[in-house]
Amino acid sequence: MRELVCIVCPRGCHMKADEELNVTGNACPRGAQYARAELTHPTRVVTSTVRITGAPYTRLPVKTSAPVPKEFIESVMAELCKVTAAAPVHVGDVIIKNILSTGADVVATRELVAK
């Protein structure tokens, strides 16, 4: 029996999962889904920033368009260090396509106009 807290939504259900991955304590199906993924192959959406030129600020916030395996977080961060975006940028613009072959893109999460 493993105890875990669902991080899918702010309600933070306290859940239990047995060896056969039967989940209890979740208030909705997304919790069970999360628990199974967490116990077999945990993933996270990575949110961070990349350098940007020509904008009023020096950092452009970005995220992975889908969760990536947890063990990839560090190498995703290293990849983000290598790129520089240029203003103007729109929400959803792809900054890195299919990062590290995870199937997820790195996309901009903020509008930054050219200065």
């Binding site: 306290h14 959406v45 961070s48 020096t58 950092r59 977080i73």
Partner: protein, 416 residues
């Protein structure tokens, strides 16, 4: 003369202005002191916003962007880079900006949406010297996420509020070593999901019932001393731990920004540190409303949006149909409850349900939230768990309020 002036262009101000427009007002002005709309969300680049409202997991800037888009489809006027200096009870708004200079605008209604600010070291009085390297977590967040500066390399975080937890992960991802997160209370002040995904994911220890008792270093922080505290939050001698670090981040709470509010002679609630509000978010001054973090500190922007839409619609109703009236019920904090918003309800103005937000003053297991008047229980709600870090919400049907006179008490009864 504007029909409505909204002070603050964060999520609260944006949602309120959009709702007022949708309810029929056509001369609305938003005044924002920053260069851009969006408020604090612009620096909250992590995800987890909008799950309730948009049913999607958005980052802070994305959530703000959704509302800026909605706003651009309306005729709401926006003045950025403009600071409101004073609000008077007869609804004159004094402001100053680079293009207009110092001007006074009049309005038929006003919505206060100035958000909150962080408590600083001074507000909690930590002993020790005054070297560089001590930041509030929110200031550090702005440096890292917007300006592109790293505040330090080896970090201790005091306080386990959400901003501190989010910054523990953020600093770690950016290559800093976060040595500890220290919380004086026996429970965390942040959301459980943030404890899991920000501390546990990165093996950052959380020391509950501990506090910072000394800061060492002359020009820059060199060491931080952490001690365990007893039940009365007094440090216990002999329990000191020393951390070699160059940075201390403070995440010790937020305070609603209410200088303008008190200046306008509006009644404040010492518990929320925001204005006392009615069911429609109206303050003690008719036609002046407050919503979002200026009314009470929220952990979830989704609730800010809902509450602010209510305020926006109510301002429109005030301007178009005249003042709200009727008998008032006072909402009293019973055992286990540290505050409620609203503090007053006028049943005549409640359409379907009256929502009540509140916080509890300790962690509760399986519990029943009991709403009662002098005659006894009026309504009850079951919960598996209640925690001070997680705001609760109940909805009282209008029908139920019809027969209530005078006051209603909200209290917590633990079942087990």
């Amino acid at each position: 003369m504007y029909e409505l002036i909204v002070i603050g262009g964060g999520p609260a101000g944006l949602a309120a202005a959009c709702a007022a427009w949708d309810s029929g007002l056509r001369s609305i002005l938003i005044v924002e002191r920053d260069r851009e709309l969006g408020g604090i969300l612009n620096q909250c680049i992590h995800n987890g916003f909008g799950l309730t409202y948009f049913k999607e997991e958005l980052t802070g800037p994305e959530y703000a962007h959704r509302f800026v888009e909605l706003l651009s489809k309306t005729g709401v006027e926006v003045r950025t880079d403009t600071m409101v200096l004073e609000v008077t009870p007869d609804r004159k708004v004094h402001m100053t900006g680079p293009e207009t200079g110092y001007v006074v605008e009049e309005a038929k209604s006003i919505i206060l949406a100035m958000g909150c600010r962080e408590r600083t070291r001074g507000a909690i009085a930590i002993p020790g010297s005054r070297p560089a390297g001590i930041f509030t977590a929110g200031a550090a967040q702005r440096y890292v996420n917007v300006e592109g500066y790293m505040p330090g390399k080896r970090v201790v975080i005091l306080g386990s509020g959400d901003i501190g937890l989010i910054m523990a992960r953020r600093m770690t991802l950016e290559g800093a070593k976060v040595l500890a997160c220290v919380e004086v209370m026996p429970y965390s002040g942040g959301l459980t999901r943030n404890i899991v995904q920000c501390l546990e994911d990165y093996d950052i220890p959380l020391y509950l019932s501990h506090t910072v008792t000394d800061i060492k270093g002359r020009d820059r922080v060199e060491q931080v001393v952490v001690s365990r505290v007893d039940e009365r939050r007094r440090p216990i001698p002999g329990t000191e731990m020393v951390f070699d670090c160059d940075t201390l981040l403070l995440s010790v709470g937020l305070i609603p920004e209410n200088e303008l509010t008190s200046g306008a002679g509006i009644l404040l609630d010492p518990r929320t540190k925001g204005a006392v509000v009615y069911e429609n978010m109206e303050t003690s001054v008719p036609g002046v409303f407050a919503c979002g973090n200026v009314a009470h500190v929220h952990d979830l922007v989704d609730f800010v949006t809902q509450e602010s839409q209510r305020a926006g619609a109510a301002a429109a109703k005030y301007v178009l149909n005249g003042p709200a009236g009727g008998e008032t019920i006072d909402v009293i904090n019973g055992s286990g409850v540290s505050y409620t918003v609203p503090q007053r309800i006028r049943p005549e103005n409640v359409e379907k349900t009256a929502g009540i937000f509140f916080r509890v003053n300790r962690i509760f297991g399986k519990s029943r939230i009991v709403v009662s008047n002098r005659e006894g229980e009026v309504a009850g709600f079951n919960r598996e768990r209640l925690a001070p870090g997680e705001m609760e919400r109940i909805a009282l049907p209008a029908k139920l309020l019809e027969n209530v006179k005078g006051e209603l008490t909200v209290a917590i009864q633990e079942v087990e």
